[in-house]
Symmetry: C2
Subunit: 200 residues, 2 copies
Amino acid sequence: MDFLPSALETLVEHFARLPGVGKKSAQRLAFYVLSLTDEEADSFADAIRTAKRNVRRCPICQNLTQGNDPCSICSSTKRKKDIICVVADPKDVIAIERAHEYEGTYHVLHGVLSPINHVGPDDLQIRSLVDRVSTGSISEVIMATNPDTEGETTARYISRLLKPFGVKVTRLAYGIPMGSQLEYADQATLAQALEGRCEF
Amino acid sequence: MDFLPSALETLVEHFARLPGVGKKSAQRLAFYVLSLTDEEADSFADAIRTAKRNVRRCPICQNLTQGNDPCSICSSTKRKKDIICVVADPKDVIAIERAHEYEGTYHVLHGVLSPINHVGPDDLQIRSLVDRVSTGSISEVIMATNPDTEGETTARYISRLLKPFGVKVTRLAYGIPMGSQLEYADQATLAQALEGRCEF
């Protein structure tokens, strides 16, 4: 496509590299950038640079944070520091925080064990989790990986690693989602819901 | 969502402003930027800045080009300068060029007449088209706006404006798309195909 100015072509290529963005969408996004004011385009460009430069991992929970200090959750005095919720991804922290129910801290693994994708224990933040637990100040570790094969495997692997420290290891309840309808629940979910039934 | 670092939050907001990108996708795109190297992120940011700064409209055909000189099509010696194909959008130029059939020049209107969106003749590159035709060096103007109400209206409006100059004004043929099947063609297309039938 040499009928596009090369600067625009370059921008299209950058957008096309984004996950889930095809050539056509990339073109539309690039044309959108042309419709911005110079200031808006500059602030977009700065946002990319700044996010990349300033966002780091929290030295305690490995969640994303700005600067070198512990993240807002790890440094908050209101959170229970003896409970750790283990998640695969920073997005999962956002999801759990949105429920306004959890008051402990997190540990972000940044992935799950996946032999097929060559992801082993050393590629995840498992060592740093074990280090936190080994201090003896942790009373409970809640495994909150996704309820799929890789998530389950990762959770089991970690719970076995943590056993020697005598810490209580739990996992999120599986079952029928709130507000859903029984008739549309899949077999696996129903089976889990029956198995995990509790008294009224 | 104050559990996202503010630099990341800012980037999410910028992505969310892109057309067709929702909050969730914006988050995914922002996380992708974090996974880039510093150099890749910088070159992405530069691409935005550069495209916005350097892409201009060709002084002749109004298509997008780089710098202040006429675009590669207008300055090519191989193109027939007496034929103008009028399109609504730079993307339409790309589409037509892809067919490798057209050898004339273009004129990009940058929109279509649309009273409902408050787009009148003065908001489009119609004056500059009339100026080109008024020089007397143009033998044919091909209207290639989209075959919808607004595109048709715009084409009719322009063809009426150009009539006094005695220039030949044509439009693209409407009919059954190549490689398609008659049984799936819609009524309007079939009607057009019948009306525009030609001898073998």
